[in-house]
Amino acid sequence: MSTGAEERQLVYTMENKPIVTCAGDSSLFSSLQPTLVQQLPKESVEWRRSYGRPPKMINLEANFISFKEELLPKEGSKALLTFPFLHIFWTDCYDSEMYKTSTKEEISRWQNALRGRGSSDWLIVLVEVESRRKSKPIVLPRMAIVDKIRNDFCNKQNDRVVVLNDPLRESARAQESWQAFLSRLRLLLLASFTRNLGHFEDDMRALRERRTNPNWSFAHYFMVQEELAFVFEMLKQYEDALVQYDELDALFTQYIVNHGAGADPTEWVSSFCHPVCHWTGLALWRPIDMVRRELVQNGCASLLDLRSYLFSRQCTLLLFLQRPWEVAQRALELLHNSVQELHLLEIPLPLGAVDCWVYISCLEVLQRIESFCDTNQNDMFAVYAAGLRAYAREKLHGLGNLCGLMSCKGPTSEELNRTVDLLAGLSNNDTEMVNNLNNPSKRLREALSSTEAFEKHYLELSEVAMGTYKHIGRLRSARLIGKELADFHMRKCEPRKAEGYLLDALKTYRAEGWSLLVSHTRRQLAACQSQLGNPDSPLTTSGVTYRNAHLFLRRQDSSSSPGRTREPVLEDTTRTSAVCNVLLRPGNNTVSLPTLVREPGLFTLRQLCLQIGPLQLLSLRLQPVPQYTVYSQEPQLDVISGDDLLAGVPQELQVQLLTGHRALQEGEGLHLSLPESLLLLDSVKIPAHVESDSNDDIPDIELSLELSPRLLRVRFPAISGYRSVRFSLHVLCQPPTATPPADDLDYHSIQDGIELKGLVVEHRVSIDSPWSIYSTLVTLAFHVPFRVQHTVLTAGHRKFVQVCVRNTCSLHFILSRPSLGFSMEGEDTTLESLNPATTTCVCAGKNAWFLWEINGQVPSPVPCCFTVAFQLGSTTEQKRPGTAKGGPNEQMSDDGEEEKPPRHCLFNYDFMLVQLATLYSVQAAVMPPLGQEMCQMGLLCSLEVSITRLCKDDPRQEGSGSPTSDCGEIPGGATVQCSQLLYKVVDNSSNWAVCGRSSGLVAMPLTERATHKLHLEVLPLFAGYLPLPDVHLSKYLSESETDEPCGESGRTPGVESFSTTTPRLSQFDPGEVYNVSRATQVLVLPSPDTSLVDITVP
């Protein structure tokens, strides 16, 4: 290991880079050096590590120095910092002759020197300058020199020669060769690091294993491992460097513990047991504390010296690693641990010396971190910073105690002597340190110099420590410092300053129920207050107060409840309630405490306070908690309608009024605006039921109603607050005049403010109340109880209208006086009712049917109106309000059959009647096969179809847009107007198989009673009564026919339009074709069974 000034110089700057020596042509190298130094670190390379350590990316730098033999490490040297990791030989020899005469010799000498010291890390660089070569004739090919060098020196190590092309020129070729050279250089450097550091580490481990040898020196080992740390630091591998120090730390700690535990006494540990005479604390502001390092190296370091040095190095590396908080965290551990180690090794120290050391160290660490970043900004630091500050404060407190700086009388002579001793250990020869104004050691010396200075420092530090604790939310820790401050002020005879801290602390302890701490603090407070000259005050804090009897009320949500209190404490409350001059009699006394509460909330009775003369009795918090809720309610109005209000039926609306905090005056009331079609059935007086929260029996009242058109006034008598008033209104909603089509549930219309949604009529009722300027809007949904559907039925020529009324609600209705009429007058067509004269009862969910026959032709379509009177069926009589009497606006039917006439309401249904004349009738019949009486399964039967035209001309021809006529050839030669029909025989129920043709075209003459007969063959597939197969007719439009609405063109013979539409089919409208044999069935016998059944009789 190199020693002395040289190494010290090296270590001091830490500007080190790995050393690379350069031999050969020095002028050549000098020209290249700037580029080389600049380019080398530009790219990072991966450093694969031994011992399973993860690979790292590293940017290499090097210090290139001229080769000298003295630089080569001597045998057994452990120096790493000065170790040359690579040797480079530079030459630009281009001439074979020159190589032979001089260069080869030079390289050879250089190699021998290296080999002599066992150095195998070398590289030969052949610089090739284009211009120089060109100036002279080329004697030998250029490669020859390289090959010669390889031959002569690189035994199987071809990578040890590099050619650098024209390095000073800016060319792609030069660039390329530079890059190749640099990457070779990096690889070789790394290989050298790996090998040499590997050797070093192996040696170091071997040295560590020998630690049980009696003459093993920790100091020596320390220096060896630190050398490794330095090299890692040099390579900017701070993590690895830190590991070295951490290992040293752990090794040392373990030795101390073992030593303390009485394991084999190790001689070198004893060297750390020497008395400590300096306690200047940590010094972290220099990367390497050379003074302490030297002490460690020479084995004269005290325990504190070693710890200080080790920590300063760890701190430096941690700051390089950007982990300042870890410095703070480790510092606290270090300080606690060091103090323990001092005890463990029983190192003699003057009283207070440890305190000095810790105090200075804490402040030093804080200063170092604060210079790095703002501790107050970062909560992560704040936790550690708080710990360090509190620790420093604690130590300063101890020092103040020892040196008599905390009493108001000042230090005694013994205490002064002690101070002098302590100051001696703080003397420092380090001029740099002394010049540092904020130097903690200097501050400590200042603090110990006088009581005033001490007070200033101590109060300042305590405030900061308390502030930090409060900042991070450690209130209890802050209180404890506060108590120490109180103690300090008491000693300084300043009870006034102490009182506040003690009161704060007492409050905390009391709130959390720590009785021992409460009584201790109380005692201190009593002493404090007695010094303040107020003999009464101590009692104040003891929980007995001279005040009026109180009942404390507190809103529960106003503050978080403090912990369980174990003794009576006068609680903070928001409200009190008191009675005075209460006469207490023997036995139970009931005292009511009146209180006026002006805000809503939950109120809890916390505490009772009883005062009798000068005596005051205070209860514990009351358990179980008596509490009451105070609320304030706004008046509230609700209309409670049942789920299903029905239109056309008297309905009851329940109105509920909660008066809340507002009492109603006589004559005040509600104004309801009613839509026109909503009828009120009530008379001028209606009863109302009044309730209150308390179970008082309140008699019913009567409300008066005033009805002007569409406005109802409800007048109330005087009603007090917090009452619930209920009354019923009976209304009738007229069914809408325009009932939506039965199948259109999305039907939506708005008429006169009435909204009709599907089968629901919505009425908006607005209610004005005296307590609000806003109207209450209530939407009442009345369901229309019926759905109506109509159909037109055909029987030959005759046409019928059938109306189906479906009861959609759950009540029974009686329908009477159905009527159907055309909305338009003046037609000679009549509707003949086929309905019975009696009433019809329609049960819930059932249908009622009504039928009319249409006599005569009607223009189609024509608007029709169906009307039926309805009333609730007898089974639902109870649903009808019994009190209902005929209201002023009530619409009633006038059939007075009964004494109390049932309320009839009319239900209207408007629709468009589309009636079409029957054009054709189709009759089908199945005939049994010849010779058979009956049809039989499996035997072909004939289907006779006859199509008859029923009307002379087609009333739908004009304007209908579906021409059906054609000129057809009728056998016989005459050209008659025909319309072509397509017939199709289908059997959807698969009872029949149609054999042969099942469809075809038929030309029908446009004359009445024209008949066309068809003969088809069908095969019954089943036996039994089978419905006949269906015969469908549809209009056949041939290619030549147009779709144009001018139907005349189709009927005029010879006049044909020549549009090119393809033939197509057009369906007849319902009612145009009458199927005579619909629903006819024919009996089919089963086929005779001719299969044999073998029956074996045993």
């Binding site: 630690r211 049980t212 951490d246 290992e247 752990a250 090794l251 373990q254 030795y255 513990v257 073992n258 303390g260 535990a261 009485g262 394991a263 084999d264 606290l332 551990e333 300080l335 606690h336 103090v339 323990q340 005890h343 463990l344 810790v358 710990g387 620790y391 604790y469 991070i472 939310g473 450690r474 209130l475 209890r476 820790s477 404890l480 302890y509 959390e512 129920g513 720590w514 021992l516 701490l517 201790h520 912990g563 369980r564 174990r566």
Partner: protein
Amino acid sequence: MFNVATGGRRRRAFCTMAVCVAVITKENYPLYISNVPAANELKFHYTVHTSLDVVEEKLSAVGKTTSDLRELYLGLLYPTEDYKVYGYVANTKVKFVIVIDSSNTSFRDNEIRSMFRKLHTAYTDVMCNPFYTPGDPIQSKTFDDVISSMMQVC
């Protein structure tokens, strides 16, 4: 990292167990505090009370990160020069605090954990006693015995 041979012979034994054991309610008032030597009672009360700061800090930190099962053992709450204070919080937020003398360097984390478990079990037994009113200071001989077994000098 290093296994320095100790030779297994100890002249001085530092196997004082806990110097103080405390049980603190959810509301932070003490149910039980026992300490040796008894003369330092006040100091231990202050130490344990102050440690609640860190307990609360750790509990709130846990609440922020995960909602799943929290580890009951809180670890080292804070070291002082003389003591190491360890914490443990039951699911009912009842806190256990054990104070170890700092000079006791042979202590392992596992031993502290097992002490806490023992303490928790003993506390559960106290709670199971029908004659014990929850929230009252613990006065149980069995519990005392468990605690003193933790604090005995070996």
